[in-house]
Structures are given as structure tokens and as C-alpha cells.
Symmetry: C2
Subunit: 216 residues, 2 copies
């Protein structure tokens, strides 16, 4: 058995289950899977379902009909009301941002994102960071907020981005403006001064596409 990967057939079965539950609200039977995926025998389906269960992708409820359930992937998600993104760490101005590619995303804590904030279909390559300190308050982001970032290397003028200043080795959330020969990183508060720097000194790590704040 592969370590953590599904075979093509297993992926096909898994996607079928996800789609079935999304559309019908109930689990498919083994024979549903067999018929619609043109699999020769129910035993093959059963065998691969066992593999999927060992991979933690599904849960089989022994001996009961339509007993497949999806841990962590529920009908509400599938109805596109919410999605999930990994919470990759904490960001503080001045400290380096953890590199999203270096982290085992499947093991990271998951944050629920309502479709009203970011539609689930636009949630690929999105991760979350918890803001520590009030150093981004000028960008309407407060201590304890959770920011949602889409991983990208470029940005349009005016977008809020997480920018890595290489020389300073600091990451900061600012509005991004490309000007003649330089980059302007503009706080949202007019009492704060913008940062001007050379384009080569800036790496965009992601663009802020949502904020969640709890004041309880």
C-alpha cells in the first residue's frame, strides 16, 4: 500500500463518494459505486474502500448500508456554504512568515471559511495566519485577527499583500503600489508613512483576501 496516496481507482471512488453525498445528502452503496464507475465486482469496491479507510479518507460503518461517511468533509461544505483552509502560523511584523510550502498542510489546524467571505471554489492555494500584536492596526487588522491569504507572487496596485522585505528580513501587511523604479507599501492609515523600497528587495508571499475577527 502506498504511504499516503490514493491509487487512480481509489481517487476515482473517493471523488464519486464526495459528489454523491453533495448531490444526494446520503452515502452511496457499494453497488452504486460499482455500477456508475463500471467496476467489475463489488468486492473490488469493498477492497478499495478498505484502503481508503486506512488512509483516513473515509469511515466505513461495519455491515450497515450506505455507511460511508467523510470525516472532516461534510454535506454543508459540499453545499458550498463553507470551506476550510490551513492555519499555518502566526504573523508578527518583523518576524519571518513561515513558508507555506514547507508545512505539512494536511496536518495543520483547519479554519472554517464561510462562503460569504471566500467562496469555496476560490479557496485553492489559500492559507490563514493569525495576527499577533497591533502592528497592522493601520491596515484594519487587529491583534488576534485571522487573515486569509492567497498564495501569489504578484499583485495589482492597491491590493493588500503580505510582503517580505528581504534586506530587513521582515514581513508586513500593506497595500501594494508599483511606482517608477520602486515599490510603495502603503499603510491604510494616513498618519503612517509608506515604505519605499527597490522591487528586488520585495517578495510578495500572498494577498489578503479575507479577515475573520472575534471580539468575544
Amino acid at each position: 500500500m502506498r504511504k499516503h496516496e490514493m491509487s487512480d481507482r481509489q481517487a476515482e471512488i473517493y471523488q464519486y463518494i464526495v459528489r454523491f453525498i453533495r448531490e444526494r445528502g446520503i452515502s452511496p452503496s457499494i453497488r452504486d459505486i460499482q455500477r456508475d464507475l463500471h467496476i467489475s465486482s463489488t468486492s473490488v469496491v469493498s477492497y478499495n474502500l478498505d484502503v481508503l479507510e486506512k488512509l483516513g479518507k473515509i469511515v466505513r460503518n461495519d455491515k450497515i448500508s450506505r455507511g460511508i461517511s467523510l470525516p472532516g468533509l461534510t454535506p454543508t461544505m459540499l453545499r458550498n456554504e463553507i470551506g476550510r483552509v490551513p492555519l499555518l502560523g502566526t504573523i508578527t511584523a518583523g518576524s519571518p512568515l513561515p513558508d507555506p510550502e514547507e508545512i505539512d498542510i494536511s496536518r495543520a489546524e483547519q479554519i472554517v471559511v464561510p462562503a460569504d467571505v471566500v467562496p469555496p471554489e476560490r479557496l485553492t492555494n489559500v492559507y490563514a495566519l493569525k495576527v499577533r500584536g497591533q502592528s497592522m492596526i493601520d491596515a484594519l487588522i487587529d491583534d488576534g485577527d485571522i487573515v486569509l491569504l492567497r498564495q501569489q507572487e504578484t499583485a495589482e496596485n492597491g491590493q493588500m499583500v503580505a510582503a517580505w522585505l528581504i534586506d530587513e528580513n521582515a514581513v508586513t501587511l500593506k497595500k501594494f503600489y508599483r511606482e517608477e523604479g520602486r515599490i510603495r507599501l502603503q499603510p491604510a492609515n494616513s498618519t503612517m508613512q509608506p515604505i519605499y523600497t527597490h522591487p528586488d528587495n520585495v517578495r510578495i508571499r500572498g494577498r489578503v483576501i479575507g479577515v475573520l475577527r472575534s471580539l468575544i
Copy 2:
């Protein structure tokens, strides 16, 4: 048949189904219900399930095992990962806040709230408003944000509230401070001046307990 009410037995069955799906993630079978509720016959269960379906409480999927699903009440909700609150309208500084008690909450658009922002068990008497204009930007709240408010008449010092200034007939989001003989409504931005007014001129409509912002 009653117009819209469940009989005791139907309510019992309905609650059993909800509990079953919450705990097991799959629908119960008719015989599960019969056994655990000590009902004499499967046909009685089937009969009452038909009634529940006509009431819109459940959906029966014809002839397939464990085919009961709950419209609008999903496993994710039951697992307390999200809740819902009604979106009662738009708030703009200067315009009156719609009175939450006057609105048919059951008909209002529902906003999904992640447990990370407000735990579902604390979501009673909470409603949402969409912020129009940038007049609350000093309170870290921007145009288009959705604010979550708990309906309450009083507040502690420092809490952010929706306050109704009676004479001015204006609603504003500010931090609330009770001082000697007056109320101070403090913006979060030090460049803005606080509002001082007489306690009789202020009615607290609710306290801000969460913010959702989409920048897409």
C-alpha cells in the same frame, strides 16, 4: 394531520434522527428507530416518517437504505463548527438601524458564522449587519464588512457597540465608556475625536462580537 406541528411521537423520531446523524454521520434505518424508541412495528415508523416528510422536516429517499436526510440541518452544523445568524440589513453612520425585533428573522438571509469567530452555542440573540461606507474605518471596520452584534442594552467599558444617538437619530459603531455623568463614544483611531453625550441620549442596540471581511 396537524397543519405544521409534529405529534409527540413524530418529535421523538425527529430528535432521534438528528441525534443519530450527529453522532454517527449517517442516517438511521427504520429498524434503528423502531428498536431504540421501542416502537412496535416498522410500519408505524414508516407512517410517521411520511408525516415528517410532508411537514418538510426530513427528506426520504425512496426505497434506499438509510435514506433520510435533513434539509437545512447538516452534520457540520451539528458538529458545532458553524452557526447561522440572520443578516438584518445595512448600517450606515447617520441612518437608523433597523430594529431587529421588527424583522421576520426566519425570512432574513442567513450568514454562516465559523465557530472560530463565535461559537454556535453563543449565537443566540446575535444578528449581522453589512457595513456601508467607510465611516467606521476608525473602528477597524471597513466598507462591505459584515459585523456580528449581540442584542443587548448595556455594555462594559471598552466594548464596541452599536449606539443609537436619539437626538441625532444616528447609529454609530464606537467603543463605549461610561464616565461621570456622560457617555464617551470613542473611535479606535486617535486622530478622531470622541463623542460625548448624556446617558439619556444613548440607547445601545447591540455589541459587536465579530467581524467578517471579504477582500475578493
